[in-house]
């Protein structure tokens, strides 16, 4: 334990938690609109490969992130059309989206295994970066880390301070009542699903462009599912979402640091279990708050 640098560890937590946070904030909006999309993993990995392809072919990581958001949002529309227009079972459709996304990403990424992507530069924050301890931990990261936090803040403001946000919550709480009040339930939900897809795509691209950074098949390794767990953990509230992401980021970063330090005699395979076991533990310890009333139910105007 003694040769783990606390500054490096804390700074790693921020990096590790960012892709999960991005995917989770998107799913939070989707679930607040009353839709359960279990396809986060599939959208994330599609975002990872789309982002990597866009970034390597244009040389710009920012176009990469844009491509990832677009690609994953397009994929999420498959889920949107099936569940909202064809009224299919959301659990089954979400699972299908994950299976499909894993296949699609492997197919798209064939020529990109082992390719080196463009480097995402750190954001240069003068003064702040030179604060002792806090500087290296908080203020020497790439821009996406801060964009992710701004998205969380934006979602909080949207849900709690805007009229559209209240409409979205109404649709999620009781879609029949919202429909009776004249709100377009299906349209609101489709927009939410697209937003969720775009965020999951950004999270995936963060993995392939910053965290790893290269493309390998199945590289999300359950990050999408952990994002789903964090939404439950956060009781569908953006503030607690950040806390959750850091907690899980912490478990992952700590096991990586332990692997690297080589100081403890625990086989790597058991350390790799840590983030998943931590997720289960937190789901058990912290009772979730109340889920949106219409979560997971199909809406049909005549019924």
């Amino acid at each position: 334990m003694s040769n783990i640098d606390p500054i490096l560890l804390l700074s790693a937590i921020i990096i590790v938690s960012t892709p999960i946070l991005l995917a989770a904030i998107g799913e939070l909006v989707v679930e607040r609109a009353g839709v359960l999309n279990l396809g986060v993993e599939g959208m994330m990995i599609t975002g990872a490969v789309c982002g990597f392809i866009a970034a390597t072919s244009t040389g710009s990581p920012w176009l990469g992130f844009a491509g990832a958001a677009l690609g994953a949002a397009l994929l999420s529309m498959v889920f949107g059309v099936l569940t909202q227009l064809f009224l299919s079972n959301q659990v089954a459709t979400g699972l299908a989206l994950t299976l499909f996304g894993l296949g699609l990403s492997a197919l798209l990424g064939q020529g990109y295994i082992g390719v080196k992507g463009p480097v995402v530069p750190d954001l240069y924050l003068p003064v702040l970066r030179d604060i002792p301890f806090l500087g290296p931990v908080l203020f020497r990261h790439d821009a996406m880390v801060y964009i992710a936090l701004f998205i969380v803040l934006g979602v909080w403001l949207f849900l709690n301070r805007t009229r559209s946000g209240r409409v979205l919550r109404a649709v999620g709480e009781n879609h029949d009542a919202a429909h009776a009040l004249g709100y377009k339930v299906v349209r609101v939900r489709l927009l939410a699903i697209a937003f969720g897809g775009a965020c999951a795509g950004l999270g995936g691209a963060y993995l392939s462009l910053v965290r790893v950074p290269q493309w390998t098949e199945g590289m999300t390794a359950g990050a999408g599912w952990i994002a789903l767990a964090i939404v439950v953990f956060a009781s569908w509230r953006p503030g607690r979402l950040v806390l959750g992401a850091w907690l899980f980021g912490g478990a992952t970063a700590l096991q990586l640091a332990l692997q690297a330090s080589g100081g403890v005699q625990i086989p790597i395979e058991y350390l790799q279990m840590a983030p998943y076991l931590a997720t289960i533990l937190v789901l058990v310890i912290l009772r979730a708050g109340r889920a949106p009333g219409s979560l997971g139910r199909s809406f049909h105007a005549s019924s």
């Binding site: 099936l82 699972l95 299908a96 197919l107 064939q110 058991y270 058990v284």
Partner: protein
């Protein structure tokens, strides 16, 4: 203007017809995808669906059909029970792995003694391994209200790490020159799960899968458990008033699906796979979810869906060899099949009317 009217009850005709419509649509869309990849779509579809059964190498690939369909059917029958009741065990892959690990460990503990007890002991160990692994999400759901989808899925990743640890450590073949992986159980006569009729692919696991189809059908239509499962799926509140204990149902459904998944892992590791290795699992636990839905959560349907899905696996491998078609394309193809099924399912529950909306 297209309008949807909810049917008073699901259409029986469409319930049976939709899987066929979905398969046909998938062939068309898949053909388009293969054409985009620069392959001849007709040849690709023929290689996947026709050649494994009637092509030049059919004598090799036909037995593979049963070998691959067996575990898929066995797992899907178990899953369908829970899915009908609204209990989502998504972690069958993990239960499959645990079944294989426990069975292999049991067999290797007795190695090299040759007694009749080895094979039955491995069966019990495999079933228990899968069952206990499934009890984790089940009991956590009953006791703490945790989401079984997330917990069972997290446990897949834990199981994969455990598998890696076992095949690199405890269960590694001591005479394997340091290569990862266990001893070959298929070459240990007391433990080997061989073909019952040589050359057909029909091993004990496949026989059990067929038995599970029959038992599943009887349970769903004739037994009280089937009635409770259907009641809980259609109306959880009515089920509680009808005397169904929801917690009991969760434990039973998860237990059965976990046990069957564990058995599938046991028969795989003792027969076709032979050895426990890092990449021993090939995703049967996930594909079985598609099989369960494609078979309409009905045992007979699952039997047919399992055979079809096995066909796409074998045909996919064939297409990979002969046409250089990427394996990922087959994975997408399977995902597409589920999408189309879910889409055309609309016709089961709704009737489509064309024309202007009439004022009610």
């Amino acid at each position: 203007m297209i309008r949807l009217d909810r049917r008073p009850e699901p259409s029986r005709a469409w319930t049976i017809a939709t899987p066929f419509v979905a398969v046909a649509l998938t062939m068309v869309a898949g053909g388009l995808m293969f054409a985009l990849l620069g392959k001849d779509p007709v040849e690709a579809i023929r290689t996947i669906f026709w050649d494994p059964l009637f092509g030049d190498f059919a004598s090799y690939s036909r037995p593979q059909l049963l070998v691959k369909a067996g575990p898929l059917i066995l797992i899907a029958i178990g899953l369908s029970l829970g899915f009908r009741a609204g209990i989502w065990n998504i972690g069958a892959e993990g239960q499959y792995i645990l079944g294989a690990i426990c069975a292999a460990a049991t067999g290797l503990a007795i190695y090299p003694a040759e007694t009749w007890i080895v094979f039955p002991a491995m069966i019990v160990a495999g079933a228990l391994g899968g069952l206990l692994w499934a009890m984790i999400p089940a009991l956590l759901k009953v006791r703490f209200g945790t989401n079984e989808v997330l917990v069972s899925l997290m446990l897949v990743y834990v199981a994969e790490a455990l598998l890696a640890s076992m095949s690199l450590g405890l269960l590694r073949n001591p005479e394997g020159m340091g290569f990862p992986g266990s001893r070959n159980l298929a070459q240990y006569p007391s433990a080997a799960n061989l073909d019952l009729i040589p050359g057909t692919g029909l091993h004990w696991g496949v026989a059990l899968a067929f038995a599970a189809v029959i038992v599943g059908q009887v349970v769903m239509t004739r037994h009280q458990l089937g009635f409770r499962v259907r009641l809980a799926g259609q109306s959880p509140r009515a089920a509680v008033f009808g005397g169904v204990n929801p917690g009991w149902l969760v434990v039973v459904c998860m237990g059965i699906s976990g046990g069957l998944a564990g058995l599938a892992g046991m028969f795989e590791v003792a027969g076709p796979a032979g050895r426990l290795s890092i990449d021993f699992n090939v995703g049967y636990g996930f594909t079985a979810i598609i099989v369960a839905f494609l078979g309409r959560l009905n045992p007979i349907g699952i039997l047919l869906a399992g055979l079809l899905m096995a066909l796409t696996y074998i045909g996919g491998e064939l297409a990979q060899l002969q046409m250089n078609l990427p394996l990922a394309a087959i994975q997408m193809f399977q995902g597409m099949l589920l999408f189309f099924l879910l889409a055309v399912d609309l016709l089961t529950n709704f009737s489509i009317r064309f024309g202007r909306r009439v004022a009610a």
